[in-house]
Symmetry: C2
Subunit: 315 residues, 2 copies
């Protein structure tokens, strides 16, 4: 069993590779829910949906969120009627939000709802929210503390970031299905996907039972750097490093995770940083980490799984 | 000022004619909300929407509900995900339900929400729900008592009807805007549109303040028969009459309303019934009542308005 920690696009793409190489009973994908929010009356879980749609093969790869072959008739009509249209919801995508919102309102667990939706979409591997209880990421910025989607979508990551707060993380516990995975003795390793360390992986690590479990681990943690050549493939990761006073680099990511990661996969472009990461006591593997298609996702996943399996001791 | 009582399609079509002939400050369209229900988490008001879309010129005339140029991507995706798809919601139509549901959830009045939606759609005449409080129609059938949409859409009006119950009607009061219209001294007349007397007009009359006001009226009530040649133009009106042991006819409709209606407009096809309706003490006007297009709606509305204005005493 391998446990992967994932956010949105980068996490989803590595998850596709892992899912292609590991049978369903050998992979658990733990997904960030800090981006979740309530909007227009819907309970929206962007990262869960990105991972689910991507594994199901129905994601829009170019846009990076939502479903492919999507239409926007609902949004158009909503805008005409004066409704809030800053967060775009596709007509097909909306069905997931409606089902999830109804199920949550009747007391169902987010993890169970996710399992059912994924089943319907033909996804056989376990996609598990980091918690059933709501955790909400707030971004501390020069425009004040902003709810995540307010910062991310409405204000296009423009405010300058100085910190993060994960509301509800202290109370949040891993869903039952994840808690039972965490108790297993046969976990080969944990994979930290190339997702934003602050807002995608950060909230997962803010769930204390998950963080405690990782710190007390008896298996290696292998991470893939989300920074390539000093920039993020997508999203505000590099911008956030800079605003926090750090040079964005694979090394900065390695320093950020510190002792929580044992082995690093960084891009060949960042070869000159390998030595410094090794100085931190980490094993470093270099490869092409840019997952431009399914084949590249599988190749990177193979590298990651090999690293997990060749690690002798966790630290 | 003329006050029209309306249900779905028949009411909406006559309302179009009335709105073409009367300025916005001279017409109030009171709409049935007994069909309203909560579905998939949405607060849906089918008759309000039919009247609003029809007056706005965006209704689907053939289908008889929803918007024209509609798409069904949300419903398709919902069905694929195992969601409830027996009540069809178009992608554009959905925007109205989302806005209404959000506004109701934040404590807004249905009448205010309806006014705002109608404004956005360019409707200048007042469309007013019969009450802000929920009233819910239940149909008593040989399959038990069914919530209205369960009977009407899901079971396609197939169960045999023996009665109706309008839950919440006793507590319901006319919205403030309607209550103030009802207090006016300059009301020329009330028009009962050719809607189903049991399930479209019935719930409106079950609101005691409206019924009391009609019974104590000082203006004529003019009604258009929804039965033409023994059949309803659309919907289960004729079927319901039969199941209740009555021959469906303009006469049966006149008997059903009794003293609440002063003057009748019936179709030329039903000329032989005019005498019997007149025996009930009613003035009867015969014309072509089938509103196949906007021109016919206006012609019928003109006949109705003339009847209102030529009536000398209410009864």
């Amino acid at each position: 069993m391998i446990v992967a920690l994932a956010g949105g696009v980068g996490g989803a793409r590595l998850a596709v590779g892992l899912a292609a190489l590991l049978p369903p009973d050998r992979l658990t994908i733990v997904v960030n829910t800090g981006d979740d929010f309530e909007h227009l009356g819907f309970s929206i879980s962007p990262d869960l949906d990105t991972v689910m749609y991507t594994l199901a093969g129905v994601a829009d790869a170019e846009r990076g969120w939502g479903r492919r072959d999507e239409t926007w008739r609902f949004m158009e009509a909503l805008g005409e009627l004066g409704g809030d249209d800053w967060f775009r919801l596709g007509d097909r995508d909306l069905a997931v939000h409606v089902i999830r919102t109804r199920a949550l309102a009747t007391g169902a667990r987010l993890s169970d709802i996710t399992r059912e939706l994924a089943d319907r979409l033909g996804v056989r591997h376990a996609i598990v929210p980091m918690a059933d209880e709501p955790v909400r990421t707030f971004v501390v910025t020069d425009s004040g503390e902003l709810p995540f989607q307010e910062y991310f979508v409405r204000r296009r990551c423009e405010p300058v970031v100085s910190g993060f707060r994960f509301e509800g993380a202290e109370r949040a516990r891993p869903p039952r299905v994840l808690a039972s995975v965490m108790q297993r003795k046969d976990i080969e390793g944990v994979v930290v996907c190339p997702s934003n360390p602050f807002i995608s992986i950060g909230p997962i690590l803010a769930v204390s039972a998950i963080r405690d479990w990782l710190e007390a681990r008896r298996c290696p943690v292998v991470a893939v750097s989300p920074i390539i050549g000093g920039e993020a493939v997508k999203g505000p990761t590099a911008k956030m490093f800079r605003e926090l006073g750090l040079q964005p680099s694979a090394l900065a990511v390695a320093r950020h995770y510190g002792g929580l990661v044992d082995r690093w996969v960084i891009d060949e472009q960042d070869a000159r940083e390998a030595r410094e990461i090794e100085v931190l006591g980490k094993h470093v593997m270099m490869t092409n980490t840019l997952m431009t298609d399914r084949v590249r996702s599988i190749e990177l996943a193979r590298t990651v799984i090999d690293l997990v399996r060749t690690a002798r001791t966790p630290r």
